[in-house]
């Protein structure tokens, strides 16, 4: 009898923890319900990030929300519970039934969201994407954080500058299928064909799968395989962090650059030999969100339709022109990537 009671109690306790766990990890933002109010006449603008629990996404949504609210709109922020296309599809469905005016999405998959987003556009919702795009048929336009070419150019110039113009260097990427990574690497190789970079030798492109453990293995392997290596370029936030830690702990002469989060990299950025990364690049996610918001507003107001050549004013950010994205659709490029160096890292590390 005692045992039965005990096991019953335990079962209830388990169910209770389960329920509590699900409830709190659901991740939908608090203002999801409140924003249903169509009666106020306010337009509602939704942003769908990649997943909950990522400071980068959080900052993007923050910038978006700030602009929408300043312009007098209603903002809905949705974080899917997992970084998958499935999770985003169900979020999009619920936004369609809520009858929002626009959806801006940072896509987890380029093609898998097409059906859901086309349904949204059929329902009269203005669909744009930011940060990570969907295919041309699923969007009206795309807010690109930095042009592929600009990133390739900036990174190659960093490689040239830090190596002193010659020597061996390697790339540490995320996964071998990551579309943006591969596009940037291609762009770098394109830039490298110029005479100026002829003394640089790209010895390997290694893949750390955005896992600290694997990235560490790959970095150590690069150091062991190429004793004359001068620089590693990691255009991924997890990879650059793992590589920075390895290089700095080893006291290695090999330097590092790439794309990284200032808060994660603050410890490693510096001009002297004690720091592994002289400088690196990234865009400002808050600005990505803000430009996304202005784009959504312009789409909803009918100022733009997402066609090439249209221009609009993004508040204090200035004038933007919609350009051809090269994939059959259009895009709006935020600008060149932002440089994080010893002089400004302290100011940025607290931002994101």
């Amino acid at each position: 009898m005692k045992k039965k009671v005990l096991s019953a109690l335990l079962c209830t306790a388990m169910v209770a923890t389960l329920a509590a766990g699900c409830g709190s990890s659901g991740g939908d933002s608090k203002d999801g319900e409140a924003a249903k109010s169509d009666d106020s006449g306010k337009k509602t603008y939704a942003i769908v990030t990649k997943a909950a629990g990522n400071p980068y996404n959080e900052k993007e949504a923050e910038g978006f929300q700030e602009v929408i609210e300043a312009e007098g709109g209603e903002c809905i922020v949705k974080h899917p519970e997992a970084a998958t296309a499935d999770a985003q599809v169900s979020v999009i469905q619920s936004l369609i039934s809520q009858g929002v005016d626009s959806i801006a999405i940072a896509a987890n998959d380029e093609n898998a969201l097409q059906a859901a987003l086309e349904e949204a556009m059929d329902a009269g919702i203005k669909v744009s994407c930011l940060d990570s795009k969907v295919n041309a048929d699923s969007r009206m336009t795309f807010v690109n954080q930095a042009g592929t070419k600009e990133i390739g150019q900036a990174l190659m110039d960093a490689v040239l500058d830090i190596t002193g113009g010659e020597g061996q260097w390697a790339i540490l990427s995320a996964t071998s299928q990551a579309a943006n990574q591969n596009a940037w690497i291609e762009a770098m190789k394109e830039v490298m064909t110029d005479e100026k970079y002829s003394k640089l030798e790209l010895v390997e492109v290694a893949y750390g799968d955005d896992e600290p453990q694997k990235s560490t293995d790959q970095t150590l392997a690069l150091l062991q395989k190429y004793p004359d290596l001068k620089l590693i370029c990691a255009p991924t936030t997890v990879g650059i962090n793992a590589a920075a830690k390895v290089l700095q702990d080893e006291g290695s002469d090999v330097k590092l650059t790439g794309l990284g989060l200032p808060s994660e990299m603050a410890e490693y950025i510096g001009d002297d030999d004690a720091h592994s990364c002289p400088y690196m690049y990234l865009w400002n996610p808050i600005d990505v969100g803000r430009l996304g918001a202005y784009t959504s507003i312009a789409l909803v107001n009918g100022d733009i339709t997402g066609a090439e050549g249209e221009t609009f004013t993004a508040g204090d950010m200035g004038e933007y022109t919609i350009t051809d994205a090269g994939d059959g659709g259009t895009e709006i490029i935020l600008g060149p990537p932002f440089k994080f160096e010893p002089s400004n890292i302290d100011e940025w590390k607290d931002v994101y």
Partner: protein, 330 residues
């Protein structure tokens, strides 16, 4: 009788011996292609980068021995790691030893809850731990509140994984100490023998007066405790706490045990096996980029090597079983 015993001894010895042979062949093959592999620094780097999997493999050994499985271990690690990261970031607790104690205590509670649900709630281990896998990972996200703790926030805590005693990194010492403790407990103590007894024949163990439920709770609690410890270790080693830390690495932990000859049905497996298994896994991960296998093909090659090692191991086991039977007939 005496002869029988010596045969038994040979069997338990040679099962690990087959792994050791694989290990040596692997090392020779890698060194031939990349001579720098067999240096002290290269090996300690590898151990340091795999300490977490190696320690958790011990907990998994206990769980698999009683015929269970725990797929929530990486989530417990993420949960405790995130707690440590956040405590440090907001300077609530900054003492390294205290942070370790906190991580271990939380891991212990997590594991104990899992064990109680499995043993007394009579939920299948894979189902229960699947639930907890989501719960603990979810809690890691809740704790993180969309923030990460980075190298700069982790101040002195990350120095633990840089410090050395007698030329060996602290985290490697932690692993060695835990392995020694487990080796002694599993081989020479009552508790160790009880775990094996429950795993090889639950009914018989119950009849002989062993509280099988208590043993179940114990192994999951130990598993959780080690996962908690590893959460703190991982944060210190990688100088970063993110809610998705070591996501899906429970499979590597289970793979390490399976490679090491731990039976998924329970009752069979050893500390040495878990050690060799996780070491083989670590060597494969370390060697693949070194010997110049195309990045895209690395996972496939990893899988093939794992399969080859396991098949070899199973064949060796069968041959041993057969010779064992022969011995009895005589």
């Amino acid at each position: 009788m005496k002869e029988n015993k010596s045969i038994l001894k040979k069997i338990t010895g040679s099962r690990e011996a087959s792994l050791l042979i694989v290990l040596i062949i692997l090392c020779i093959a890698i060194t031939a292609k990349s001579p720098s592999f067999m240096t002290f620094k290269s090996i300690t780097d590898m151990l340091k980068n795999n300490v977490v999997i190696m320690i958790m493999a011990l907990g998994m050994l206990g769980v698999l021995l009683v015929g269970g499985i725990d797929i929530s271990v990486a989530s417990v690690l993420g949960f405790t790691g995130m707690i440590v990261g956040m405590l440090m970031k907001y300077e609530v607790v900054t003492s390294t030893p205290l942070l370790f104690v906190i991580a271990v205590a939380i891991g212990l509670v997590c594991g104990c809850v899992t064990g109680l649900v499995i043993a007394y709630g009579k939920v299948l281990p894979i189902i229960a731990t699947m639930g907890f896998m989501y719960i603990y990972r979810g809690l890691a996200y809740v704790i993180s509140n969309s923030e990460w703790a980075s190298a700069e926030n982790l101040g002195t805590f990350k120095d633990f994984a840089l410090g050395k005693v007698l030329g060996l990194n602290n985290v490697i010492w932690v692993m060695i100490i835990i392995y020694v403790i487990f080796f002694i407990v599993m081989k020479w103590t009552k508790i160790g023998r009880k775990v094996y007894a429950v795993g090889s024949n639950r009914e018989a163990a119950a009849i002989s007066g062993i509280s099988t439920k208590r043993i179940d709770v114990l192994v999951y609690t130990v598993m959780g405790t080690l996962s908690g410890l590893c959460g703190a270790l991982a944060v210190s080693i990688y100088a970063s706490a993110q809610p998705n830390m070591l996501y899906a690495k429970e499979m590597d932990v289970i793979a390490a045990c399976v490679i090491g000859g731990v039976s998924m049905q329970g009752g069979r497996g050893s500390v040495v096996g878990a050690f060799l298994g996780s070491l083989i896994l670590a060597i494969i991960a370390k060697a693949l980029p070194l010997v110049g296998i195309e990045s895209i093909a690395q996972n496939t090659v990893k899988g093939i090597i794992i399969m080859a090692v396991i098949i070899l191991n199973v064949l060796a086991q069968r041959a041993m079983d057969r010779s064992n039977l022969k011995g009895r007939e005589m």
